[in-house]
Symmetry: D2
Subunit: 354 residues, 4 copies
């Protein structure tokens, strides 16, 4: 099926191009009776918003969400929650230079080949503006999951890798620095590096770590919809993501079973957590943690050779205001997608046993 | 929804516990008119089969597939393909020692907590025996995709990492060595290492690399069902998988955009392929390649302390015949899941444009 | 799953309450490359619109559709088509009298019990205003199915039953009379009867017949998603529908097989069409025809005794402007839902065989 | 998607042709902890079984169900329940005469056109043998819904129509007569009539009425998955069904709103039940009742002219042992499908509100 829905019971369907009239979505299956904290939604949107700091794109986007249905007197009614975010301040003229040109490592070429047509303005549907709708829905999912703590932060920018694991850092640092790194010192280095990259007209990739705490035992639906499989899909569906690992991840492949096995305490908790809070695709009550790899943003402020739709060589250079590094703004998106996954499995798990 | 179906149009639904009467599945949505090569299915099953070499489990499992419907005179009819694989030679007695015991880093504990009951014999539904059904369906999907070449091989066992990338190795080596490494020399080292590990009564993790060649342009359904997102989910749903990366993957996060961008040739192909054959979630015609991380098998032949269902400490030691390293037998499973993903998107793409 | 999506490939998801800010929807899976005739969409909306004649509700509703995405320069792009219809001229004050009252044979009581909360203004989500979104999507589906002719008309109002079958009437009459009856004479009787009913402050039920012509052979997906099963669901999902029959329908139960069997002509067509154009759940190329039964509108301009949310007896009387008979305005809704079903199966059928 | 799955949470997927090796299915999403009464399943199967009385087909079919998974020590484990029913005593030779012939009002022609191939033996997938799998799953759903009483009976055979409504008949009569009519006197007439029809080598249609009692308030998912819409689809998906109506049905279209409205009692129940236990698509706690119309069986023991796959005229006559009237054996199938619908919505409703 056309891929603009996510989730089974708590289901988000989105629409919208970066330079159309609006983007938006429908959340179907949110239980009735949830008091919506609109302020909290705005806070999440502000974390994703362009222009929030000196190291992200200075583009201006309206991220004002209008809720059109499904919430009555501040409370969800069980009917679908429709919402729109208008596209304002979009200067379409900015994009005529890419009308017939395929930008390297963008989706221009593949959209054209798949659909035979493409809204070329600003990437159209393939623009990361689409992720604003994910943040809206994720913010509501977070409110549904009020006892679960979902925390993402930047743990890598280019070669700069935070060597501490999530239990060694201070989550309260995250929102204090524009990088959203969970370590103050490393944050300074990363910030400086991103500024340097921007000066070069270049971009750089990075890594976001996410931790889910207080997730109830039992979430996840083997054998295909394992909790980490759905988390992985959720993360990989975010623009620019190239990899996902949870628990011991790729490094865990180097270990022996005698080291990697998480031995039980008498209360069912485990002494170590190489499993990453999930065993057999089902949450075991321990912290769930995973890493998401983001490639460098494709739009750079340097001239590149590329082709147009006639297959002719043309030179092009990024214009406008783009992120030199996407991870600081990806943090709330990672959290939002995690919240959508957990909310869906949490609801579904109500039917697991008599 | 309960998670035992995979795919939307080409859809596999499976059932079965390792020590029940049988495992099996239903493939719905396979187009009519496909001549089935049963020999080819057997070949795939043999690649997954226990006991195939000295470095895998010596357990005996029948992997004989009986097709019950959907194929008439050797050709698919468009109706659902039902199949079963009987569980023979399963000695349930082998497993009474784990009836009330939660094996470390297995799914015993989480199944018990989620469902309140568990078929403890041999892991029940959480056993990797379930993957035999994936191989059956994948073998049919491969036949549907006859022009697409799907090749997986082992590229890491513990610390032993194949440093060559997929274009530098010889695929014809893969089936010549029991490790299924694509490099003869490295295969010998890996084999020796696995034997050493087995002697220790231990296990070790590893990495499988998979390459899809000749995939048509246009497969994948943004924004949530991006080709790589669904591939990632497919891989992460396989037992013991801890990570997935495609194209430049985690290493790509270290790169700058000016390096990472894949510049176009005039025919639409690209000079480099950091994108991994997918842009914006849609195949671009280049080779698709990805890596899958497998943790060390949890069952080790060493004594471990664990707990029983009463929360009491007990000692346990793996019995029977288990894999010291899962990756050699995971190779056909990775290929099968990749085939399922591609078959589904290939069919779906027939409706993308007028 | 929450039930606000319809279809699998060509999928409509809707939102909106009658007195919220807006209603709207997302059409996902419409193939790229379809030139949209916006005028034709407006025409369909006008057929459903309140106030269009003297025998329907005189309520004023804005039915202006704003398309927000998925259409670029008049052509579908393959990305989701988002649209909204603003709720204007809704006087919420009109509805405070039903805030705590359960109107007989409305959904007030069941929504309250299911969700524990309800947007009481004008029926909220259970209002037939929701069907406007179906008409929008159906109008696009019709354009996709340009060779298929979908024609609905009123064939019964109360005791007045059109005795001619669809091949004996003149479809060009339908839009010439306010009842949308396919027979001019009967239309006059029906119109007079509806006016009489309205004068009584009462309402009456009716029947809509629908005919699909030129449907290609092969649509429908046995065994559960038979073409008529999905058509039946589509129709039964429309407000006020109580029954569905196709082909020979209930009357066919009286017949013998020797009469009912449709004998073949040499070209594969049949001499009779008791089957209603569908055999085994798959279209056979003949005309598909079916009937849809609508109950009398529940809101009447007479005093009725009912209860409030405290379980106390209260008297109530319908206010405002309601339809004395729903079928004239139901005609385009029936057509729209039929179009959605056929569009979905038409796309799906592209994957039926190699 | 290929249409061999039914339900969302409690989901049945089936496979199998009438003359293949076996038919069977997978029930996914049945909650863990349900003690299975296998005897009760057999009882349901026996009600559907050929040869059970003098007025049904004397064909011999094995209906022995083998459960292969998902049930451990008699209790469901939450994993998928796989089952098969072997096809024994099927004489394929019986069917060679229809290999190249399209039987009138069967699905031979449409399957051939849709799929380009067909298992012609005994109708293949389009045979009603497939419904045995529905009865298996329905029998389990009934056990899940132990407080809900689901009762179907024959209310019409040809012109013989039971004039009493469901509250005026005695359900205990149903299983006492081979017709499964809920009225002893009418049963005798129907039985005599069916015997007469059989003597003529002919067949006749009929009607099954179904009543669901003690259904909890709140089941059904507006706006598209209304309870009656899904019930309608379920019934229309059964072989030979031509119509569905619930509550006042088609007759209700003749009524005025002032008569049809169901006025409330102070406890929320209603004085009348024209609504059929469903308002706005959601169960209201009252009895749900509906009627299902079955056409006459297409296979008759009289010579009919038809065509072969070359488009040539040929004469054919039904052979073997077929039902002169399908409704007595349809009764358990109607109940089974109703149970599947209710079980699914009952589980889903656990997520409706906080």
């Amino acid at each position: 099926m056309a891929g603009n829905s996510f989730g089974s019971i708590f289901k988000l369907t989105t629409f919208g191009e970066s330079h159309g009239q609006a983007i938006g979505g429908i959340i179907d299956g949110c239980p009735a009776g949830l008091s919506i904290d609109f302020k909290a939604i705005e806070t999440e949107m502000a974390r994703r918003k362009p222009g929030q700091s000196a190291i992200v794109t200075q583009r201006k986007e309206s991220d004002a969400v209008e809720f059109l249905s499904g919430i009555f007197e501040g409370v969800t009614t069980g009917t679908p929650i429709g919402f729109v975010i208008k596209n304002t301040n979009q200067k379409s003229a900015d994009y005529t230079h890419i009308k017939d040109t395929y930008r390297p490592s963008h989706a221009d070429y593949t959209y054209d080949k798949k659909y035979g047509i493409r809204d070329y303005r600003g990437g159209g549907r393939s623009s990361a503006r689409e992720t604003a709708c994910r943040v809206v829905a994720g913010a509501i999912a977070k409110q549904l999951l009020k006892d679960i703590k979902i925390t993402a932060y930047v743990s890598g920018v280019g070669e700069l890798q935070l060597q501490k694991n999530y239990s060694e850092v201070d989550f309260s640092e995250i929102e204090k620095n524009p990088v959203r790194c969970a370590d103050a010192e490393m944050a300074l280095q990363m910030e400086a590096y991103i500024k340097e990259i921007r000066k070069q007209g270049d971009t750089v990739g990075g890594i976001v770590t996410c931790v889910l705490q207080n997730v109830p035992l039992g979430l996840g639906e083997p054998v295909f919809d394992k909790l980490h499989a759905q988390l992985g899909k959720a993360m990989l569906s975010i623009n620019a993501v190239k990899g996902f690992e949870y628990g011991s991840g790729f490094a865990g492949t180097h270990l022996k079973g005698s080291v990697h096995n998480d031995l039980f305490n008498e209360d069912g908790s485990t002494k170590t957590n190489y499993s990453g809070g999930i065993q057999g695709g089902i949450s075991n009550g321990a912290d769930i943690y995973f890493k998401v790899a983001f490639k460098p943003v494709a739009t750079i402020m340097q001239s590149q050779e590329t082709i147009n739709s006639e297959g002719e060589k043309v030179a092009m250079q990024g214009r406008g205001r783009h992120d030199p590094c996407v991870v600081p703004r990806a943090v709330p998106i990672v959290e939002a997608m995690a919240a959508l996954v957990v909310a869906d499995f949490w609801l579904l798990n109500k039917t697991a046993k008599l």
